[in-house]
C-alpha cells in the first residue's frame, strides 16, 4: 500500500525506508512552497504553530491528489513534540473531504510498543525481526541524512564553489533514498566522505561561528523556508546545529538524563520536553566559544516559546549575543536580511575587539 506523510526536511526518506521493509511505499511529499504554506494557513486554526500549518498544507495538497493513508513518525521516546499524534484532529480536518482518510502513528515508547504499533497499522504478521530491520533502516537513514546536511552546511563556509556542494548533497540524498540495505548505506557514507574530501577548501578561518538552536521541525525545513539564512555560510560564516530528527525520534529517559543534568541550572529536571535539546545545545555552543546564538522557531511552537526566555538567560549568562527569529504566517524572508546582517556585523565587531563568550 502507498502511504503519505509530511517532509520533515529530507527525513521522509527514512520513513519510506521503514515502510519498504514492511512491503509498503511512501509518496514523496510536495516541496514547501508559498501555495502549500497558504493552504496550511487556510486550513489550520490561527493559534496552531507555523510548523503545524506547514504540515497541514503538505498533507492537504496530497489529499487533494487522491492520497488516503497518512502515516507519521512520532517519538520512540516517552515525549517528543506533544503536538504530534492528534489523530482525531487530523481526521476531523481531512475526513470530510476524504472519507477513506486514515492516520497511522508509527513509533512508540520503546521496541515493544513500536512493534505493537506497527502491527496495529500494518497487520499482525509483522515479525520482531522485520520491526528491528525496519527501524535499523529508519535510523540508519536518519543518521546519514543528518550527516550529509550538517557536513555540507559546514563545507559552504570554506569551499569557494558552492554549486559543487549542492550537487554533492543532491546526489548523496538520492543515493540514500535508493539504498535498500544497511551495507548500502555504509557505502553511500564512504562515497560521500571521499567526494567531500576532494572539494576545494579555503584556508582562512570562518568570519564568525554561529550556533543554531530551535524547533527541530522548522530547522529541518530550512532548505524550503530559510534558504537565505543558509547562504550566510557561503559568505564565510560557520553555521552549526546539534539537534535533528534523531533527537526527537529517540529521546528516552536514558538519553535525556545527561542533557537534563547539563542544563539543571535553567530547567526543572523532572520535565522531559524538547526544550532540553535547545538549552543543552545553547550551553554547548557557549562552552565552545561560539560567537553568537541564532534561535529559530515556528511562531506558536509551545516548546520553543517556553524555551525562549531560558535561552535568552543562557546567552546573557554566557555573554553571547543571541537573535530569535520567529517564522510565522506573516514572516517575509526579505525582512530577514537587515536583522541577520546587523547580527553578523555585531559578531564581527565583537570578534575584532576580542570579546568572546564566557
Amino acid at each position: 500500500m502507498r502511504y503519505f506523510t509530511f517532509s520533515w526536511g529530507k527525513n521522509y526518506i527514512a520513513v519510506r525506508a521503514l515502510l519498504r521493509v514492511l512491503g509498503h511505499d511512501l509518496a514523496t511529499p510536495p516541496q514547501i512552497t508559498a501555495p502549500v504554506i497558504e493552504r496550511g494557513i487556510t486550513l489550520a486554526h490561527p493559534f496552531l504553530c507555523f510548523s503545524g500549518k506547514l504540515v497541514l498544507g503538505q498533507l492537504q495538497v496530497q489529499v487533494d491528489c487522491g492520497e488516503q493513508h497518512m502515516t507519521f513518525m512520532s517519538s520512540l521516546g516517552p515525549e517528543a513534540c506533544r503536538c504530534a499524534d492528534t489523530s482525531e484532529y487530523l481526521e476531523s480536518l481531512f475526513g470530510t473531504t476524504c472519507p477513506a482518510f486514515s492516520a497511522h502513528r508509527i513509533g512508540g515508547d520503546g521496541v515493544g510498543t513500536a512493534l505493537e504499533n506497527l502491527r496495529s497499522h500494518f497487520g499482525p504478521r509483522i515479525t520482531h525481526a522485520q520491526c528491528m530491520r525496519a527501524y535499523a533502516m529508519f535510523f540508519g537513514k536518519v543518521d546519514l541524512l543528518d550527516k550529509i546536511e550538517r557536513q555540507c552546511l559546514k563545507m559552504f563556509h570554506r569551499c569557494p564553489d558552492p554549486a559543487r556542494i549542492r550537487a554533492l548533497q543532491a546526489e548523496a540524498v538520492r543515493r540514500v533514498d535508493d539504498a535498500h540495505r544497511i551495507v548500502s548505506l555504509w557505502r553511500v557514507s564512504r562515497w560521500f566522505d571521499r567526494v567531500a574530501a576532494t572539494l576545494p577548501k579555503r584556508t582562512e578561518p570562518p568570519l564568525a561561528r554561529i550556533g543554531i538552536v530551535g524547533g527541530e521541525h522548522i530547522l529541518s525545513e530550512l532548505d524550503s523556508i530559510l534558504m537565505r539564512l543558509k547562504r550566510l555560510a557561503e559568505h564565510g560564516i560557520l553555521l552549526d546545529w546539534r539537534g535533528g530528527f534523531r533527537c526527537l525520534a529517540h529521546s528516552d529517559e536514558t538519553r535525556l538524563a545527561p542533557l537534563k543534568s547539563r542544563c539543571a541550572e535553567y530547567l526543572a529536571p523532572d520535565v522531559s520536553t524538547s526544550e532540553i535539546f535547545s538549552c543543552t545545545h545553547a550551553l554547548d555552543f557557549a562552552a565552545e566559544g561560539y560567537d553568537g546564538l541564532l534561535h529559530i522557531y515556528a511562531f506558536g511552537c509551545m516548546p520553543q516559546t517556553a524555551a525562549k526566555p531560558v535561552l535568552q538567560r543562557i546567552a546573557r549568562d554566557a555573554g553571547m549575543p543571541m537573535i530569535s527569529l520567529a517564522v510565522g504566517d506573516r514572516f517575509a524572508e526579505e525582512g530577514l536580511d537587515n536583522r541577520v546582517e546587523a547580527f553578523v556585523d555585531l559578531l564581527r565587531s565583537r570578534r575584532r575587539s576580542g570579546k568572546v563568550a564566557v
Binding site: A44, H45, P46, F47, L48, C49, P78, E79, R82, C83, A84, D85, T86, S87, E88, Y89, S92, L93, T96, D109, Y266, L267, A268, D270, V271, T273, E275, F299, G300, M302, P303, T305, A306, A307, K308, P309, V310, Q312, R313, A326
Partner: protein, 303 residues
C-alpha cells in the same frame, strides 16, 4: 518564631489545583499570601516582563508573581506540573515550565521559589507533590495528611457561581479552569450572560480529574475541554456553549475548529486577549443569546 509567608499567585495553577495549595499551606500553619484577583494593573505588570507571543493567561500569571514579590513574601509557590503517569497526557509546555520561565525572566530568584513536582493519574493529582511541599516546609507526613483531609471538601468554583433558573437558557462556559474562574481574564462573561437572562453552568471542581482519556489528545486541558464539550452537547439542560479561548493557546487552537465542526448546540468561541473590546464582546453575547432563544425548545436538546 514567625511562620514563613508563602505567596501563591491567584492564577493558573491556583485554579487548576482548585485552591488546595493555599488551603494545605494554611493547614500546615504557613502564612499564605494570595495575590488579589486579576486586574488591569496586575496584568500590565506581567505583560511588561513577559514575551509577546506567550498566551494571555501566562502574562497575567507573571503579574501575580511580580505582585507577590512586591509584598515581602519569603517565597513564591510555583509548582512544576509534569504530566500523567501513563506518559501520554501532559500539560502544555509553558504551564509545565512556569517556574523556569519566571526565573529566566529575572522575575523571581530560584532561591525564593518553592517548586514541588506534581504528577497526575486517572484519579487526578497524585499526593506525592503535597508531601514534597510539606517536607520542604518541615511538616511531617501526618501533618500533611491532616491538612489535605481538611482542604479536600468540595467547594463551588471560584468566581462563577452556578445558577439555574427554570425558564432561562443555560449557557455552559467551556475553557481552562484558570480562564473560566478568572472574571477579569474572561471579560466578566458569566456576569454579562446573567444580565442577559441566562443561567450559567461551569465544570464542577475535579469533575474530570486531570486525564480524560479517549479523546486522542496529548494535552490535558485540551482533552478536558473536548470531554466537557461532548458531555454538554448531549446534556438536555444545556442550551448553548461559550468557549473561552485565550489568545495563542496552542492546545485549544488544536481543537477549536474541531469543536465548531462537531458541536451540534449553539457554540460561540470568544478569543480572549489584552486587545479585546468589552462592547464588541457584549454585542456577540447578545447575538448568541438571541440565537438560543430563536431555537425551538425541542431543538435545544439533542437526543
Amino acid at each position: 518564631m514567625t511562620a514563613p509567608s508563602i505567596g501563591i499567585p491567584r492564577s493558573i495553577l491556583h485554579y487548576e489545583f482548585d485552591g488546595q495549595l493555599a488551603s494545605l499551606l494554611e493547614g500546615l500553619g504557613v502564612r499564605v499570601v494570595l495575590s488579589p484577583p486579576t486586574n488591569r494593573d496586575i496584568f500590565l505588570a506581567g505583560k511588561r516582563c513577559m514575551l509577546d507571543e506567550i498566551c494571555f493567561p501566562v502574562k497575567a500569571f507573571a503579574g501575580h508573581v511580580a505582585w507577590l514579590l512586591d509584598h515581602d513574601v519569603d517565597a513564591v509557590l510555583v509548582p512544576v506540573l509534569v504530566g500523567h503517569e501513563n506518559g501520554r497526557v501532559f500539560p502544555c509546555h509553558v504551564r509545565t515550565r512556569l517556574s523556569d520561565i519566571v526565573v529566566a525572566l529575572g522575575l523571581c530568584p530560584r532561591d525564593r521559589l518553592l517548586s514541588p513536582v506534581f504528577r497526575f493519574d486517572e484519579l487526578g493529582l497524585r499526593p506525592e507533590g503535597f508531601y514534597d511541599l510539606g517536607a520542604a516546609l518541615g511538616a511531617s507526613v501526618e501533618a500533611v495528611d491532616a491538612a489535605l483531609a481538611a482542604c479536600r471538601t468540595p467547594s463551588p468554583p471560584e468566581g462563577t457561581p452556578q445558577t439555574r433558573c427554570p425558564d432561562a437558557p443555560t449557557v455552559a462556559l467551556l475553557g481552562h479552569p484558570y480562564v473560566v474562574q478568572d472574571p477579569w481574564l474572561n471579560g466578566y462573561v458569566a456576569r454579562q450572560l446573567r444580565e442577559l437572562g441566562c443561567s450559567i453552568r461551569v465544570a464542577a471542581s475535579g469533575e474530570f480529574g486531570y486525564s480524560p482519556e479517549g479523546t486522542g489528545q496529548h494535552f490535558d486541558l485540551a482533552a478536558r475541554t473536548l470531554t466537557l464539550a461532548r458531555q454538554w452537547d448531549t446534556d438536555a439542560t444545556v442550551d448553548g456553549i461559550v468557549f473561552l479561548l485565550p489568545f495563542n493557546c496552542g492546545p485549544d487552537g488544536d481543537i477549536a475548529r474541531y469543536l465548531t465542526q462537531t458541536t451540534r448546540k449553539p457554540l460561540m468561541t470568544l478569543v480572549l486577549d489584552e486587545l479585546r473590546s468589552d462592547g464588541g464582546m457584549r454585542t456577540r453575547m447578545e447575538a448568541f443569546v438571541d440565537l438560543m432563544s430563536f431555537r425551538e425548545p425541542a431543538r435545544r436538546t439533542v437526543s
